[in-house]
């Protein structure tokens, strides 16, 4: 709609009119800038005990937890009316960042038209008996207080890896981009220590939240009996201690208000690149090792210059991957701390494994240089070293798999993740090895090697096609979940990939088919068409480069979808948010 507005000049209007004396305007503008609170009574002197105590006195325990006990939130669902004052009070009384909230309020609904049920649910950290955040943390930035059971986050210890965010099934730890660390609810432990109630407890108008002392054994039994809360993630994983009480019968069809919502998750680009490049590197070393075994068995051997290029490339790409990982950290300069959690954290173990991989690979990559410089490296030693590199690299990949598999997210289950990551090693490693063989072969163009290279390349292409096809089929299998009637996390992932993320998904499969099937076939036809033609190598190198790039792109997009299409478990959320 267009606005027909009369036009007025913005200035020179005032001359002929009676303008108020500037003194009044000036005075009012001046007055406006002074606050005038001193003239009113100050309600309370400096040193008064907390006044709100009269309301929360009965909402916190009188004593400290005893042996086998701990503090826990207790929520009276019948009293939670969904005002969300707890969220904002926690934010304000704890001095959180502008958008930071440690508590949230979701909604469960269901029933029938005759008897509908609407249940708001306030939730914060559940101070679990087996906190997944604590187990996953690579730097031991979490501690569970042995006396109170409160799960505390040590902000200065945190390096900002956000693995706890992935591990916690209740979406509790909150990452701060400005601070580069995670923070979370500590049950206002300092307040409890001096007999004050946590902010949320103080602020609930209906006294729906209290702090109780619970028996850990009872908490475990409740979790095992799945008595936690309808619509909440399965409690056996971390044994949450929050007690949700209600007298209302909960209908069987009770669902979180955001049950049908499926929004793409954060893509975590540094992690995408880290996984793709480390897996390409490990894959290249593994494939190279196998190729060498085959060549040695066939009496041939690779030229040192060739091997130099080969190993340096594989090693360099691996380093890129590891470097990318540090970009994910909020405080990358503290990355070295990430090894100390190795007893419980797969992330620490991954760092150690890839550390060993990088160290041995650097030595291994040096061997052809030594040979070129005139030193003899015993073939057995070299091969053994290669074996160690491949093994430690594979160990790193297994740790990568476990990092995600142990979050218990359906799309990241061990089978899916394992299959993807291991096949990625091959889908990325084979083209790299192929490219380097062809490139160095074109460079040296030693006719005696051509036959061997040609055979090798044909084998690599066929392997790649088989592996790529297997991987694409495994990936496409997710869409089978679209046929199911229940709204499982995997079905949600499938809905995301065929909905919000459909363009990316289509691109992934298109590139995957081209890189994994079409281009290898073109390479193969070259070999079969004119194996003896001296010029074929240049065009085939171009093809092989494309093949490598397509597979790199395809796997990168696959890994993007791995993060973006995962459905994170969480407490019931609010409608349409």
């Amino acid at each position: 709609m267009s606005l027909a507005l009369p036009i007025y000049p913005a200035t020179n209007m005032g001359e002929s009119l009676s303008v108020p004396p500037p003194s009044l305007l000036d005075m009012l503008l001046r007055e406006q800038q002074s606050t005038a609170v001193e003239k009113f009574s100050q309600w309370h002197e400096q040193d008064v005990a907390p006044l709100q105590e009269r309301y929360y006195r009965d909402l916190i325990p009188l004593s400290r937890p005893g042996v086998g006990e701990q503090y826990a939130f207790e929520v009276d669902l019948d009293a939670c009316s969904g005002c969300k004052a707890c969220v904002v009070a926690c934010h304000n009384l704890n001095g959180l960042e502008e958008e930071e909230t440690w508590r949230s309020v979701g909604l469960l609904h269901g029933g029938t038209t005759q008897s509908p049920l609407l249940q708001h649910v306030t939730t914060a950290c559940h101070h679990c008996i087996e906190p997944a955040c604590l187990d996953g943390c690579p730097v031991k930035a979490y501690e569970k207080d042995p006396l109170t059971g409160i799960v505390r986050h040590l902000d200065d210890q945190c390096i900002g890896c956000q693995y706890c965010v992935l591990k916690c099934p209740y979406d509790v730890p909150k990452y701060s981009h400005t601070k580069g660390i995670v923070r979370k609810c500590d049950l206002c432990s300092d307040r409890l220590a001096v007999g004050e109630a946590p902010a949320c407890v103080q602020a609930c108008p209906n006294q729906a939240i209290r702090v109780a002392i619970v028996s850990k054994q009872a908490a475990i039994e409740n979790a095992e009996a799945n008595l936690f809360l309808p619509g909440a993630p399965e409690p056996r994983y971390t044994l949450p201690t929050t007690v949700y009480k209600t007298k209302r019968p909960m209908p069987a069809n009770l669902l979180p208000a955001d049950y049908y919502a499926a929004a793409p998750q954060h893509a975590h680009w540094p992690l995408v690149l880290m996984l793709v490049f480390t897996q390409m590197s490990v894959g290249a070393f593994v494939v190279d090792q196998m190729v060498n075994d085959v060549m040695v068995a066939g009496g041939a051997s690779e030229q040192p210059a060739n091997r130099m290029l080969h190993l340096a490339t594989a090693f360099g790409l691996g380093l890129i991957g590891l470097a990318a990982a540090t970009l994910h950290l909020g405080r990358p300069w503290l990355a070295y701390r990430s090894i100390i959690g190795w007893r419980t954290s797969w992330l620490s173990r991954e760092v150690l494994a890839f550390g060993a991989f990088a160290a041995t690979a650097s030595v291994y990559a040096l061997t052809p240089w030594l040979e070129l410089a005139g030193f003899t490296v015993a073939p057995g030693l070299s091969r053994a070293l290669g074996g160690i590199v491949a093994a430690s690299g594979l160990g790193g990949v297994v740790c990568s798999i476990m990092i995600y598999a142990s979050t218990r997210r359906a799309f990241w289950n061990p089978a899916y993740t394992g299959l993807k990551f291991l096949l990625s090693c091959l889908v990325l490693g084979i083209p790299l090895v192929l490219l380097i063989h062809l490139a160095s072969s074109a460079w040296t163009s030693g006719a005696e090697n051509d036959v061997a290279v040609s055979g090798l390349c044909r084998a690599l292409c066929l392997c790649l096609m088989a592996v790529a096809m297997a991987k694409l089929l495994a990936e496409v299998a997710i869409f089978a979940w679209l046929q199911t009637s229940t709204f499982t996390p995997l079905r949600r992932t499938a809905i995301l990939m065929s909905g919000d993320l459909s363009r990316v998904t289509q691109l992934r499969f298109a590139i995957g088919v081209v890189g994994g099937i079409v281009l290898p076939m073109l390479v193969l036809t070259h070999f079969f068409a004119a194996p003896e033609a001296p010029t074929y190598l240049v065009s085939v190198v171009v093809l092989a480069s494309l093949l490598w790039l397509f597979n790199l792109a395809g796997e990168t997009i696959e890994r993007y979808l791995f993060f973006a299409a995962v459905v994170a478990p969480k407490m019931p959320g609010a409608p349409c948010t």
Partner: protein, 744 residues
């Protein structure tokens, strides 16, 4: 020496790997805040505190402002205040953060030759304002300039505005956005009880044994009043009458999901059953009321069978409801927008007043026919805005009233208009008929909130001069204005607010307004000067000066507040309810009206007022088969969201986009899946919303929250004939899956 180096090295290395405390940990450390506040973040330790009334809704909570160097650094709810008892809703907790926003108006803005709003200075703005408005008046008559005011500014500012506009500038027509929420209660009370006098005090929530809530979702709209219900120790019977299963309905002991707009019939039917069973207080009726016999005849026809058919409830529940009211010793009736925003809202509110009167449930603890107001100062507006009523609840058409007001204000009686103002919708209509050419809008956002919004946008574009005075430049209405005047906000100025239970509370200046923004009070002073009528208001140099005048204007009226010495007294007492006359004022912190059974009509009696229920003007049809209900969405959203959308935390607590609640059976029938985008369409406009498929709305009805700009594209402009309040909660719409070209 070497051991020291070894230890230092060990400490360094240890610190490198293990750092349990440090600067990041320190950021979250808390100190005892003093002032009875308990622990507070270290950086936010106050050096003083002061308490003031919240500026969002009419509950009128008190917030303790934490001050450092004379400026607000935080807040917490005031523990002892008799309204909120140490609690606040999310809006109150975030009341200070919404003041910090990039779109605050910091200078006057004037639309330039290219149609862009450009900053200008105050002298130019004031001169332009007066020149344009005077030019319009010269050409089209004094009454061709009107104003639309608000329930969001202080009483003193409303009084200044109303007086300036009508006595100083010669306007006749001015109304407030309170028309959209409260007008119905005003008229209902005036006609029934003789004065606009909600009789209750919040303690009544705690003292009832039967609480009847009609069209009121306290849990979401008034969380602190729900808190008071929760503090009731008598295990009250809570009866919620609402088409939707709201949070409040969930928590009720009885929810009656009646058909929309069948409430008037229901309450007549209830009166019928009460009378048939002789469950009425004949003594009270005889002593304190008139018109009961006619009322009795009127409800004879409202048999349980007829009422059941009209309301969709069964006769058993009707009898059950009547029995509960009969058995209750202290029955209170509360209503909110479900009643007020109706084309027959006045009669519906009066049907509740009738029930309270006939059962003697008024004037005693835990009883009353009680309207829960919307905005923080709707009640101030009702008494002192000088819009519909002459100052102090008086009548423009009454010469005696005009003379009295003129003498108190020391102005010429001829300056007071002799005809009452047009109501909001009539002012809009006046623009269409080219009778209104200049409009001054203060602290309200009609382009978002007015019913049938598309038409309003068009109407406002016909004005010669539209001035919007607001704290933000981005409101939908400011964006359409020729001039924007930058206003200081709640917290940046002084004055008083009057809450739902008639409690007068203070607001204080605890923060600095951005740029050249000025308190509305100061803007009115400047305009008075620039207009040339500054002399008339010479005695009003501060809000407290106006307050002293308002006291005089209240003398002898039911709302007599002559006993309140000054602001200091309001501050020390934690607010004071009207009446509080100079002599014989009751000092109790919580007081109700009509304990003596005397009402404000000349004969001291309350009237039974009633009328035949009418059909809603736009019932669902084959083309538009759903009935659209609108209302509040969450406790974190306030009206048109000009303020609440400025808090990052509040934004996290409500859906960012408009959504529509629809029953699963309807959704299934028309092929709508949860979370799907759907087109909601009325004869007037359409919107695309996300579907929230839920059993809490009945089949055939859909619900869309009012806080989204699109909602009022759909609503039908129809009004209560007595209160002129828009009926927002009933119009026919069609719902279907949205195509992509529907403009997602």
């Amino acid at each position: 020496m070497s051991t020291t180096i070894y230890q230092a090295a060990q400490n360094l290395l240890g610190g490198m790997f293990h750092q349990p405390t440090g600067p990041l940990t320190a950021e979250l450390l808390r100190n005892p805040g003093g002032f009875g506040l308990g622990q507070l973040p270290m950086a936010e330790t106050p050096d003083a505190t002061t308490a003031m009334t919240c500026g969002f809704c009419s509950t009128g909570c008190s917030l303790t402002i934490h001050l450092k160097d004379q400026s607000a650094i935080g807040l917490s709810p005031t523990t002892e205040y008799p309204v909120n008892l140490g609690m606040a809703c999310p809006k109150g907790w975030e009341a200070l953060s919404v003041l910090q926003s990039d779109d605050r108006a910091t200078t006057p803005l004037l639309r330039d030759e290219r149609g862009q709003l450009r900053p200008t200075d105050w002298p130019t703005a004031l001169a332009t304002f007066c020149q344009r408005m005077k030019a319009i008046q010269a050409r089209h008559g004094n009454d061709s300039v009107a104003f639309l005011s608000t329930g969001q500014i202080a009483t003193e500012e409303m009084a200044y505005l109303g007086s300036l506009a009508k006595f100083g500038m010669g306007m006749v027509h001015g109304d407030g956005n309170t028309r959209q929420c409260m007008a119905t209660s005003v008229v209902a009370y005036k006609q029934s009880l003789g004065f606009d006098a909600p009789p209750y005090t919040y303690a009544d929530f705690e003292q009832s044994d039967v609480i009847v809530l009609v069209g009121a979702n306290l849990c979401i709209a008034h969380p602190i009043l729900w808190q008071r219900v929760c503090r009731n120790p008598h295990r009250p019977d809570i009866i919620v009458i609402d088409p939707r299963k709201t949070e409040t309905a969930m928590a009720a002991t009885l929810h009656l999901p009646l058909l929309p707009k069948s409430d008037l019939t229901l309450f007549y039917g209830l009166a019928h059953i009460l009378i048939s069973n002789e469950w009425v207080d004949e003594k009270f009726i005889a002593a304190s009321t008139t018109g009961f016999d006619d009322f009795q005849k009127h409800v004879t026809d409202f048999t349980p069978e007829r009422v059941a058919a009209a309301t969709g409830l069964n006769t058993d529940s009707l009898h059950d409801l009547a029995r509960r009211i009969h058995l209750g010793k202290r029955v209170s009736f509360f209503w909110t927008m479900g009643v007020n925003q109706s084309y027959e809202g006045v009669r519906t509110a009066q049907s509740l007043i009738n029930l309270a009167l006939m059962t003697g449930n008024i004037g005693r603890p835990g009883t009353g026919a009680n309207s829960i107001t919307g905005q923080c100062n709707a009640m101030g507006s009702r008494l002192f805005s000088n819009t519909t009523n002459l100052l102090g609840g008086r009548d423009f058409q009454n010469e005696e009233h005009r003379r009295h007001v003129a003498s108190i204000l020391g102005i010429d009686q001829d300056r007071i208009p002799t005809r009452p103002s047009w109501a909001y919708d009539q002012i809009i209509e006046g623009i269409l008929q080219e009778k209104i050419k200049g409009l001054w809008v203060i602290a309200t956002n009609p382009v978002h909130s007015w019913i049938n919004q598309n038409m309003l946008r068009d109407v406002l574009s016909r004005l010669d001069f539209l001035v919007v005075q607001d704290m933000y430049t981005t409101t939908e209405t400011a964006q359409q204005a020729h001039m924007v005047l930058p206003a200081a906000a709640w917290g940046e100025k002084e004055g008083t607010l009057i809450n739902s239970e008639r409690r007068i509370g203070l607001i204080k200046k605890v923060a600095r307004a951005p740029g050249q923004a000025l308190a509305d009070f100061s803007i009115f002073r400047l305009i008075a000067e620039a207009w040339g009528c500054g002399q008339m208001f010479e005695r009003w140099k501060s809000p407290e000066d106006v307050f002293q005048s308002l006291k005089e204007l209240s003398r002898g009226q039911p709302c007599d507040i002559t006993g309140i010495t000054n602001y200091q007294m309001l501050d020390e007492r934690g607010g004071i309810q009207w009446p509080f006359p100079e002599h014989g004022g009751d000092n109790a912190a919580e007081r109700r009206l009509f304990a003596d059974g005397k009402f404000f009509h000349a004969d001291g009696k309350a009237k039974f007022i009633f009328e035949q229920p009418a059909r809603m003007p736009e019932e669902p049809t084959e083309r538009y088969p759903f009935l659209l209900l609108t209302g509040r969405g969450t406790a974190s959203q306030w009206h048109t969201q000009t303020r609440t959308s400025k808090s990052a935390v509040l934004r996290k607590l409500y859906p960012a986009e408009v959504y529509v609640e629809i029953n699963p059976s309807d959704a299934r029938r028309i092929g709508i899946k949860p979370e799907q985008r759907v087109l909601v369409e009325s004869q007037r406009g359409s919107l695309v919303a996300k579907a929230f498929v839920t059993y809490t709305v009945q089949p055939g009805q859909v619900f869309v929250p009012m806080h989204y700009e699109q909602t009022n594209r759909l609503t039908l402009a129809h009004f209560d004939p007595y209160s002129r309040q828009p009926s927002y909660k009933n119009c026919a719409v069609a719902v279907r899956p949205a195509e992509t070209h529907d403009g997602v």
